[in-house]
Symmetry: D2
Subunit: 384 residues, 4 copies
Amino acid sequence: MSEVNVALIGYQFMGKAHSNAYRQVRHFFPGKLVPRLKVICGRNQPALEAAARQFGWEETETDWRRAIERDDIDIVDIATPGYLHHPMALAAAAAGKHIICEKPLANNLAEAREMLHAVKKAGVAHMVMHNYSKLPAMVYLKNLVDEGRFGTVRHYRGSYLQDWIINPQFPLVWRLVKKLTGSGALGDIGSHVVDLAHFLNGPITSVVSQMTTFIKERPLPGIGAGAWGAKGQKGKGKVTVDDDTNFLGQFKNGSVGVFEASRFCGGRRNFNIVEIYGSKGSASFNLERMNEIELYDGTEPQSGQGFKTVSVTESVHPYIGAWWPPGHVIGYEHTFVHAMHDFLTAIEKNRLPSPNFEDAVQDHFVMDAIERSAKSKKWEKVRK
Amino acid sequence: MSEVNVALIGYQFMGKAHSNAYRQVRHFFPGKLVPRLKVICGRNQPALEAAARQFGWEETETDWRRAIERDDIDIVDIATPGYLHHPMALAAAAAGKHIICEKPLANNLAEAREMLHAVKKAGVAHMVMHNYSKLPAMVYLKNLVDEGRFGTVRHYRGSYLQDWIINPQFPLVWRLVKKLTGSGALGDIGSHVVDLAHFLNGPITSVVSQMTTFIKERPLPGIGAGAWGAKGQKGKGKVTVDDDTNFLGQFKNGSVGVFEASRFCGGRRNFNIVEIYGSKGSASFNLERMNEIELYDGTEPQSGQGFKTVSVTESVHPYIGAWWPPGHVIGYEHTFVHAMHDFLTAIEKNRLPSPNFEDAVQDHFVMDAIERSAKSKKWEKVRK
Amino acid sequence: MSEVNVALIGYQFMGKAHSNAYRQVRHFFPGKLVPRLKVICGRNQPALEAAARQFGWEETETDWRRAIERDDIDIVDIATPGYLHHPMALAAAAAGKHIICEKPLANNLAEAREMLHAVKKAGVAHMVMHNYSKLPAMVYLKNLVDEGRFGTVRHYRGSYLQDWIINPQFPLVWRLVKKLTGSGALGDIGSHVVDLAHFLNGPITSVVSQMTTFIKERPLPGIGAGAWGAKGQKGKGKVTVDDDTNFLGQFKNGSVGVFEASRFCGGRRNFNIVEIYGSKGSASFNLERMNEIELYDGTEPQSGQGFKTVSVTESVHPYIGAWWPPGHVIGYEHTFVHAMHDFLTAIEKNRLPSPNFEDAVQDHFVMDAIERSAKSKKWEKVRK
Amino acid sequence: MSEVNVALIGYQFMGKAHSNAYRQVRHFFPGKLVPRLKVICGRNQPALEAAARQFGWEETETDWRRAIERDDIDIVDIATPGYLHHPMALAAAAAGKHIICEKPLANNLAEAREMLHAVKKAGVAHMVMHNYSKLPAMVYLKNLVDEGRFGTVRHYRGSYLQDWIINPQFPLVWRLVKKLTGSGALGDIGSHVVDLAHFLNGPITSVVSQMTTFIKERPLPGIGAGAWGAKGQKGKGKVTVDDDTNFLGQFKNGSVGVFEASRFCGGRRNFNIVEIYGSKGSASFNLERMNEIELYDGTEPQSGQGFKTVSVTESVHPYIGAWWPPGHVIGYEHTFVHAMHDFLTAIEKNRLPSPNFEDAVQDHFVMDAIERSAKSKKWEKVRK
C-alpha cells in the first residue's frame, strides 16, 4: 500500500464531487494505491481555504502552475471551467503527472487533440471524467450489449434534458460564455450523450444537427457572483453558446441515432436517457432513476414480453458489491468514486484508464461535426 | 333526427374500427344525424360477407365505384391501402359524397393536393382519420397549450415507435411496398407524429431527416396471405419503403422538434410519445397509457415541482362525459367514435370537420420535405 | 344462430354498461346465441324512454314484474340498487329466466343464499357481474397462478381505493344507505376485492376487520336527485354504511391476505390493486392501468431480476384476439362484453357461467365474517 | 470546533454504514462537534482489524465493556444483534456516554423500558437509528403533514416488503433466532413501519395482527458462517421468529392504518411504502425510489388533479442543500449521515435527539401489542 498525492484544481461543484471520491474510494474499494488529498487550488483564497477545510485537503494553492510543478504531486485533477483544461493539462503532462480532467475535455477539437498528444508524449495516465460510464447500470448495460443480448442494434436514443436556465433572469454564468466553456448544452451535457453512445454502441460516423439559443442576452452576474465569468459589470451580456442542441447520427455498426441536449426542458432536472433497440431486445435508462434499468427481451414467449425494471443494486452488478445490500440505492457521487477506483487501478497495473483522452478526442470529433453541421445545414462526416 | 347512409371501403383493421365507430357513436353521443351502415366494399366476396355480418353492414359490394355512385349513399369512408385513396376520393368527390379517408391521405404530395382540390371543388365535407387528435388527452393538452399553460414552447418531441416487423421473416405485406403505400414508417406512423405536432404546436417549416431500411428483402406473403400486395409468388421480394425515419424540425413558432418513427423498436408496441417543453411548463404523453397525461408546472413553488400524472377520465375532460366515471378508462377504438361524432356534427352544422384534407395536405408538405431531405442530405424547407 | 331476448332492469351507470355489452358482444365475439335488447325497465318513464332510445332498447317497462313474466324474455339482467336484487332474482327464477345480477349479489348473506337456492331449483343459468374477473390481465394472471408460475403463494394483497365521497357535502345517495345497499365500501368495492381474491388465490377461511364511517351525516339529495334514495327531504341524513373497510385474512392454501376497501383515498379514482407473492414469483396489477400487469420471476439469474410490465394486449392473451393489435388498449366497458360472451356461451353449451351465484355466496360468506369481526373485534371464521 | 470520540460496537452491515456516516458528516454538514473514529469493537480480531482499516477506525477492541468504560470515549454506538443492545446500553449509560443504538431498540418491551430509564437517569443523549425518518422525502412529507396540506388524515398505509429469505435453503442466521433478535420481520422492518407511522401520523392506539412463519426449519449456518447465531452445528434448526407480519391499527387522530412487514415478497428488495390519505390530499412514497415522493392535491381544479412525482433533490428540501444540484440523487447511506448530523447538533445544543429511546419505547409498545394480538386473535390496546 502506498500513497499517491493529489492536486485538485477547482473547488466548486466538481471540486466537491472529486474530493469526496478521493476520500471515499479506499473505504469501499480497498487497493494498493491510496490517494492523499494534498493540495487544492483556486483563485479566491478565503473561499479556497473554507473548501479545503470542508473537503479535507491538507494545503491550498492559488497558483495552479505551482501546484502542478510540485515534486510530491502524483496526480493533477482538473475540475475548472473548460478554457483552463488545455493549459493545465499541457502543464501537468509536461510535469509528468497523471491527469484526471473534467468533461468536456477541451473547448474545441484542436485543444483536445493537443492535450491527447501531450499526455501520450509524457507517458502519463489520463482520464476524462465522463462519470456516467461508471454507473453500475451503464456498465451492466454495456456488458449486455457485448454479450449480444440485444442482437444487432438498430436504433439508439440519447437524450440529456435539464431546465436550470429556463428563467431569462438567470445570469450569464461562465457556462454561457463561449470563450470560457467552448459550447453550451452541447459540451456540458451533449458530451455525456456522445460519450455514452460511443461507450455503448461504438463510433458515430456522421451527424446532422440543430443548435439553438433561445435567450440571446442575460443579466451579467455582478461582483462576487462567480470568479470565472463575471467581472462585476452591470447590465446584460450576450449568450454566446447553444441552449439546446439536437442531432441525428449514423453509427459505424449501421444503427441510427437520435440525440437531444437541452437546458430548456422544464421538470427535467437531470434527465439523461439512453435507449437501445436491437434485433433481439431493448433497453431504456433514465439517470433520474439511476439505480434502475429497463430491459426488454424479444426472444421471450409472446404472452410474457415487456420491459422489466431491474434494480441494479445486486452484489453481482458492477461496483455494487462494495456498497450495500439489494434495493439499498446509491447516489450521484458514487460514480466519481468508481471512476477514481478505476483510475488508481489503472495506474497500479500500468493500464490505460477509461474513458481517457483518446476517448474524449473521439467525442470531440463528433462535437466538431455537430458544430459544423449547425452551420452548413447538412450532414457532416465525423473526421478522424 | 335523420339517417345518413355510409359506404365503407375496406374491411380489415381499419374497416373494423370504423364500423364500430358508426355503430357506437349515437349510443354515447346523441345527435341529429344518425349513420346507417349501408354498404361495405371489398374484393373478396366471402370474406366481405363475413365482415358485413360481423360488423353490422346491410349490404356488400365488390365494385367500389358502384357503391360510390349509389344515390342513397351520403358518406364514403375510405379505409383501404394508400394507393387507392386517390382514385376513390376523386370518384367520391365527383359523386358529391362526404368523405372520410384513412391516413396518410395519399401516397404522395401530388395526389394529396389533387384530392384536396377535388373535395373543395365538390363542396363536400372531408376528414382524414388522424384519430389520435381525438384522444381526450390530446384535446385536453391542446386546450392547455392554447391557454398558454406552458408559456412559449421551446422544445417538442414526437416519437412513434413500434416493433411489428423486427423479425426478418415477417412477410412483404402491402405496407412494405412503395407503390401500394407511398412510404413505410414515415407514412404509417410518422404521419401521426407530424399531424399531432401540427395540431399541438403549429406548422413545421423546415426539416432534416434520416430514412433507413434495415431489412432489404422479405419473404413474399404467398397466395391468400393478403389480397392487396401478394400475388401468390414464392421467394423473396424487395422492401421498397423505410423501416425507420427520424427527423429534426423547426416550427414556425420558434421551437425546435425532434422526431422518430420506427417499426424496429422492440417492446414498443404502440409507443406514440408527445413531449412539449415551454417557458412555463411541460407535458408528456404516451399512447400506451392513453388515459393519462403528465403535466409539469414550472410556476409552482420550487419544493413541490414535478410531473403530475393526470387521469384524463373526468367528466370535465373532452369527450369523457359521454363515457364512464373517473378512473374507468377508455380504449383505442373510442378515438374513432369521437372522430365520427365530430364529423357528423360538422356535416349537421355545415362546418369543416377537423382534421380535414387541408390539414392532411399540410402533413404531406412536411412528409415531402422529409423525403427530399433524406436524399439531399441537408435541411429542406417545407414548401407551401 | 338464434336470438335470446333480454330484459334489463336499471338504466343508470350499470344499465348503460350492460346495454353496451349486449349491443357489442356479437360484433367482436361471434356466437350462436345473439342477444336482442328487448325491454329496459325503470320507474321514471321519461328518463327510461330516453335511456331506451340512447342505449338501443326496443321497449320500456315501469313494472319490473311484468317484464320478468313476459313469455318472450329469456334473460333477466338485474342492474339496480342492492335491495332489489333479492325480489327480482326470486321472481326471475320463478319465471324460469336466465339471470345476470350486478354485484354484490345481495344486501346480506341470507338473501344471497335464498337467491342461490332459487336459481338452482329453477335450473336457470346465473351469473354475478364481477366484471373484473373478465379483464384479460386477470384471466391471464389466473392462468399463470394455475400453471404454478408463482410457486406456493405466501402473501396476497387486494386493495380497492376510490375517493368519490371525500367531500362531506357529497349527498346521501342510495349507496350510503344500509337498507338500500347492504353495506358501503365493503359491498360496493370490497366485494370485488373478495371475489378477485377467491378467483386468483382460492377460499378465504378467516378474517379480522376494521369498518369505519368518517362522515356520519350528509346532506339529503333533495327532489329529483336520484329516484332510489332521495325522497325530497331537506336537511341532513345519517350515513348508515362503512366509508372504509380493511381486513386481514387467512387463505385455505396457507397464504396470508391484506385487504383494503376505501372511498376516502384522494387521487385514487378506481385504484383496484392485486399483488400476489409466491415462492417462485410475484405479480402486481392496478385497474387504473388495466391493460398492463407486472410480473416478477424469482427463478431468473440474480443480475436480471425485476418486475416486468407486460402489455396484456397480444392476440394470445385472453379475449384480446377479438379486439385490436398489440398496444392498442381496451377500456373498462370491454369487461362487460367479455362477461356477456361467457354468459351466452355457457347458456349455449349448457354449462354453469362463472362467476355465478355460488361464487357470490362464497363472497358473501366472507363479507358476513368481515361484518361480524367489525363488531366482535376479533378474528372470525368464514362460515360455510 | 472540538472532537468527540466514538466507540462503535459492530462491524458488519450497520457498522459499515455508521462508520461512513462518522467519516462523512462534517464534510457535508460542518459543525462544532467533529466525530473521531476512535475504536471499533467486535469479537473476531482478524475480521475486526480488517474492518477498522477499511472503515477508518484508529483502534480495535474485542471486549466491548472495556471500550465503553474508556474515559476518552464520548459516544457509544451500538450496531450489534438485538440481544446485546440492552446490556450495552445499560453499561454505556452507567458510564455516562451518549448513545446511538440500532433499531429495534431492544428484544422486547421490558428491555426497552429499562434502557430508556437508564439513559434518562444518566442524563446522556440517546438516539435510536430509525434512519428512514432522516430521508429528505420523509422530513419533507412530515412538514407537509404538519402544515395541514393533507387536511385530516383518514387512511394510512405502511408496508415494508423484502424477499431475502424466500429460499428455504437460506440459513438460520441470527435474525431468525428469537433469543438473539426478539422478533423477525416485525422487529427488523416492522419497527421501521411503526416508527415512520408515529413520525408522520402520531400514536397508534390499538392493533390487530397476523404473524406467520412460512418456513419452520432452516439449515444451520455452520462454522464461521456468522459469529452470533451459528455454533458450528450441522443439520437444521428451528426458525423462532415471524417471516411475515401484518396488522391493522387505529391512530389517536382517528385515522385507520393498514400495515405489512414481510420478507417473503419476491422482487421487493427494499420496498418500504408509505401512503397517507387525508381530507385534502394524499402522498405516496417508496424507499426503492427514495429520492422521489408522489403528492396529490385534492383542492386543485378537477381537470388537473393527479399524483405529482416530486424529486426531493432541491436545495430547499431537508438536508439536500448540503449535497448536489437538483436531480442528482443521493443514496441509502446518506440517511445515516443526516442522523449523525442531527445527533451531534443535539449534543452541541443540549437538546434531545430524535428519534430517541423515548420514541423507540413507543414503537415497542405497539410491537408488544402486535405480538399480544397474534396470540389473542383479537384487537389489543397499545399500553402506555
